[in-house]
Symmetry: C3
Subunit: 358 residues, 3 copies
């Protein structure tokens, strides 16, 4: 169902991918894993550690590198980068991209149940689904698709070919670039968390900045990107954010950085370009993280990272609960242990000298 | 308000629960805690450590085991498992379940503001609330309830008696079994997080699989379950997922496993049956977790667990901030400390032998 | 766009803030940072460590304390607490607050696409946006604003001047106080996570309590607050909850406590007043946390905190991945290391005594 109902000759795919066929040309009706592919499906081998699966695979053809091609028993489509080739073919079989290509031929389609303010400007070939609300002064460029029950608030702007899935919320003064994809439940532009403490309680600092998102950014389901306090929050071109991510006010994320699910970035932190940040990390506020930094899962980052291209971690690894309990008790004694170790070293130094002196 | 306006004789409840009354029969108008229950409410004692509350309780009757019954001063309803009995009685007083029983007698009720595609097939006694959007080729079986402003996209399928609360999003090609309950803000079927790296940036791998959810599954508020890349993401029968959970693409969760809030499971991990996973855990990708595994709160699980029925943990316990800072510094010296400890052991071994030799 | 199109004389602001002008009076059209402000904008210096920015700032005027005033080269507005003054001025320039003041003059405005049940009671000057669903017996007090596609379910109640942003979900039997602000994607009143285990699987405990939220509470985007099992879940006056927070059933949060993003509080835990809890923390169930407790980022709190005003932490700090891997291995040996350290101390004690005896 999610694969588009279409087919390609293997030779046609070879053309699109700058690849070379080994074995017979055949017709490909879809994509699948080596393990599950049938004789009219294409699979791929991106990692040589799965090469043993080639022997048993029933797939019609396999995307492989030249080095691995001799291990393929059926047809092979030899390419430089099989994973990238797989990514490109996946787009041919995606029902959604197929739809948007077809929508080129359509005039704008606005569901009668959508509420579009008279001052909003919609480009050509825009699709506005049922229940959508578009407020005053919004600008939606050509070929955008707005999913059911999504809301775009006053003065915001979507670049060409950007797609909002269902139930997305775009607050006022949010600008998304071209070819972005925003998943359901994402909230872009809610207030940053800013309050001045007083004896009578917290006084709200109104969040007067907006959000500026670059081109080709993907924003996962239920991810939140807060608006800035005075200046904007910035997300660079090509950034990929997974689900449940929290981006606080005035964060700046450099281009092509990818962040996995449930990671939170606190206010005013600047993350470099091409970083890869694993899931469930916490990055505290007002830090600078260098380009090409890698952070492993569930790490707490509370100091700036200056040198580029390094990997960082925190936390402890999994243990059986009983062992862990004993070690956790010792963690609380660690400073004490370190001092005692130092004392022992001094005592033994003295004992050794005494021994020598005898 | 949330308790149904109804009443039961204690003897009637005894019948339903296979229990025995000790003391007077009475009329029960609702459920409450031992501490707060009044003389026409039923309470329960599931854990003997709260037995001291029996003396002061004003409750009309108490669900207890035979062993504890002599400590109840008023009426007691003696059952084998008071907590299970309490669960069953809670269903009698729930306004929502009451509604759906009544809806048996109703014909399908579709709010005029809902947008239901002409190709969608709705079963008998289905309730479609205001603002709901149901796209093409969707199938909604008998007695389903779809809450306000929820969206069900192309070709998805809801089994009989499944309930979506308000503002739920079901992407295309998602199948939910019978008697599921999905809370508000949940997103089922958003794209898995898959991209091929290239020099020019990330290239999207279209997520062509769907999601398959079993029967009697509960999915918490704002929880996300991503669609598979090629194959589906699978959630087994009876699985219970709390709020803010992230289930990545191609995860497979075995039946009756329960996961608490804010836990994330990365791509392609297979979790066994009857596992209990506490809140705020991170489970990395491509792992296998054995049946009946228990994981404690905020643990990072990054290696497969082979033996069934074991408990695992990671992290450190809470400390006063000042103590913690000192110990955290020492954690960074831990490998160094371990080497120095080894050296000391060797030196003392030598000193002891020298001492003996003198 | 997000700043209201208006202006104030600096002397006018001095009046509102009980401040004193140093230098020329001027006209202020907006707020900005010291770094970015232009000659018709106001900036502020709340932290003396940024004082060096004063020299280069082009801002028309700066909010400062008397002690720092001599460092300002242009106009200064001298106040006791510049951060609080900044908070107050931010409200003058917020387009949203401006709107709601103007709405005083409006009669109730209900978008024709909203579905409001005939038994719901709406106060004066209430705004109900497009696509909103308000169910039976709901009460919405004066001057409330309900954002697009939000849902308020049966019997719930919003106090005066409370604002729901777009796509908020309020379940039945939820009461919000006055002047609350609830951001998009927040879900208040979903079922707590309660099930009785049986051999045949989990049996649901219907969640019969509701949620009670005090006055002037802010609830962040995609935050969830579950309904109680029997009694309610309580959120005190002036509490501030950031995005992605999970508040489980029967939690009780004391007034003026602030919690940062992605923190989860498990069932029945009672958090005191004026606590500050950083982001990504996990607090387990059935605990009591004293007033004025501070918890640092990503801490696991699994024991009650009795003494007020203390700071707590857990976890380890960031390290280069290679160093961390070595130390994590040693963490698993920590109990063993502690025992060996103890043995060494005993051996050296003996060696020292032997040495003395020779």
């Amino acid at each position: 169902m999610a694969q588009r109902n279409c087919s390609y000759r293997l030779s046609e795919l070879a053309n699109k991918l700058n690849g070379v066929i080994q074995g017979l040309d055949c017709t490909i009706f879809g994509l699948n894993t080596l393990e599950k592919a049938s004789s009219n499906e294409l699979s791929f081998l991106a990692n040589s550690k799965y090469a043993s699966q080639l022997a048993d695979s029933k797939s019609g053809a396999v995307l492989v590198t030249a080095q691995m091609a001799d291990k393929v028993t059926g047809s092979a489509l030899i390419v430089e980068n099989p994973y990238l080739a797989f990514a490109k073919v996946s787009q041919l079989f995606d029902w959604r991209l197929a739809d948007s290509e077809e929508s080129e031929c359509l005039s704008a389609s606005i569901d009668p149940s959508a509420r579009v303010h008279s001052s909003a400007r919609l480009g050509a070939h825009v699709v506005v689904s049922a229940g959508v609300v578009i407020e005053a002064d919004v600008k939606v460029d050509d070929r955008c698709v707005i999913g059911p029950n999504s809301v775009i608030q006053t003065g915001s702007h979507l670049g060409a070919s950007t797609r909002l899935e269902a139930n997305v919320t775009i607050y006022p003064d949010v600008v998304l670039g071209r070819e972005c994809l925003v998943h359901s439940g994402a909230v872009i532009g809610a207030d940053g968390f800013g309050f001045a403490p007083t004896k009578e309680g917290w006084v709200k600092i109104c969040q007067l900045g907006g959000v500026r998102v670059g081109n080709r950014v993907e924003i996962g389901a239920n991810t939140t990107i807060d608006r800035g306090a005075l200046d904007h929050t910035y997300i660079g071109d090509g950034v990929k954010l997974d689900n449940h991510i929290q981006i606080a006010h005035n964060v700046n994320i450099g281009e092509q950085t990818a962040i996995a699910g449930c990671t939170a970035v606190a206010g005013s932190t600047k993350i470099g370009r091409h970083c890869t940040i694993a899931g469930h990390c916490g990055i505290t506020g007002h830090l600078t993280i260098a380009d090409y930094t890698h952070i492993t899962a569930m790490s707490l980052i509370s100091k700036s990272i200056i040198v580029t291209g390094q990997a960082y971690s925190s936390g402890t690894g999994q243990e059986k609960h009983g062992d862990w309990k004993r070690n956790v008790v010792r963690f609380r004694q660690l400073d004490n242990m370190a001092r005692r170790l130092k004392q022992l070293e001094q005592k033994i130094e003295i004992l050794s000298i005494e021994g020598l002196n005898k």
